[in-house]
Symmetry: C2
Subunit: 251 residues, 2 copies
């Protein structure tokens, strides 16, 4: 058995999310079917992050084990051929050693959340951006975001469905960047709680639109109570951007 790392890009709109589910087609399932079409092997595709329905990826990482030995470029091209009617694309395939695990070997994950503040609705980014035509104070959001960076109990920023054993996470980065009528929120951490990025963005949005003062974010964190938090921002603005592995540094 050889282990292959797959770097993936996908538009999450048509899918129920990363993980196999009974109520619709998942990205994992689409990939597992493509592997079967390609080489007849039934595999489990393990992903670094279980993105929700409608969430996109620019740099999801997954791994598969194949009995057959295949050149990595052949895996990329064959999977993309069988994925041609899907909005899932294999950017590259790399042979990795058997210790590598897309999920458990990851040492950081990076997400970005895209907001469009112009009056006119999005054209090319429909379903790929949160459209907030009222405008937002990005500077206030940026200041408020600082309260969340570091090691904290993120209970207030965790969905009721979150299965993580502990609500304690270390947020390495949370930056709010304005570029004209676009605002992007960049988040980096070893790992995130379920819906953490979307609840952080939904709460910062309340600061940005003036309905909350900046210090509300700090108080929400301290409350350790999801009911004190802001709303969960829509899935469509969220992109899983990159995953880091200790082995990457060694290269």
């Amino acid at each position: 058995m050889l282990r292959y790392r797959l770097d993936l890009e996908y538009d999450g709109r048509p899918y129920v999310g990363w993980q196999r589910q009974d109520n619709g087609v998942s990205i994992q399932e689409v990939l597992e079917r493509a592997v079967f079409s390609f080489c007849g092997e039934t595999v489990v595709v393990f992903g670094a992050g279980r993105t929700d329905s409608g969430v996109h990826a620019l740099g999801q990482v997954a791994h598969i084990d194949l009995a057959k030995t295949v050149a990595p470029e052949t895996v990329t091209n064959a999977l993309n051929y069988f994925l041609r009617h899907d909005s899932v694309v294999v950017l590259r395939t790399t042979l990795v050693d058997g210790e590598f695990h897309a999920r458990f070997s990851a040492v950081w994950r990076r997400y970005e959340y895209r907001i469009l503040t112009r009056r006119a609705p999005p054209t090319f980014e429909r379903g790929r951006v949160w459209h907030l035509p009222g405008g937002l104070n990005a500077a206030a959001m940026s200041r408020a975001a600082k309260a969340l960076v570091g090691r904290h109990d993120f209970t207030s920023f965790r969905s009721a469905n979150c299965q993580a054993a502990s609500p304690i996470k270390t947020l390495d980065e949370l930056r709010v960047i304005r570029d004209g009528d676009r605002i992007t929120v960049h988040a980096k951490a070893r790992s995130f709680l379920h819906n953490q990025v979307r609840i952080m963005v939904g709460s910062l949005k309340r600061v940005g639109d003036g309905s909350w003062p900046e210090h509300a974010i700090r108080e929400m964190l301290a409350a350790r109570d999801r009911t004190k938090g802001g709303p969960t921002a829509p899935a469509e603005g969220l992109f899983f951007v990159a995953v880091g592995y200790a082995s990457d540094d060694a290269r």
Copy 2:
């Protein structure tokens, strides 16, 4: 009657092009229907450029005359409401004087052509980029493009359907810019012949992939014969980016 300038963005894929046609829905028609739905007036929407089927716009300009006096923001919001199931968006509406004509007052037009050279197919830009996984020599394309800048007889770069009285045009700018695995060709002129940008790009692509030497572009121009030219690049990579008016400078 008051005249309104509309700045438009659209994804050209679902349409037969800008202009009304019998064989399908045009962008012009979709806009004229939206105006009728909004205020009950039957108008003709005049556009600065008659983009072909599948060609996109980031900055098409059009004008309409309305009997009713309406605030420009109301026009924007109402049209976008009635366009919500289309991929056409009104970016802004401006009241202009009766002399303004979207097509005839234009003093320059700018297009860009987007090429993606990575191996993997496009995900988010499917139908909005020319995917050339073989890679291209952008530096050679950039040098060859210089032969086309200036006032020339562009017969070799003109579709058989072109209705322009003269094949003489002045190309103000033709730049080939590489950014990682993306190549963008920027073109600016007072006006273009039918398919001129796409034939220029299709010909430069032959230089980029090594099938033509750089000087072939200069010879093709001198031949004044469409059959000597390169192929027409696909519509999907072409974006109508901006239109300039003398009145803009005056502001």
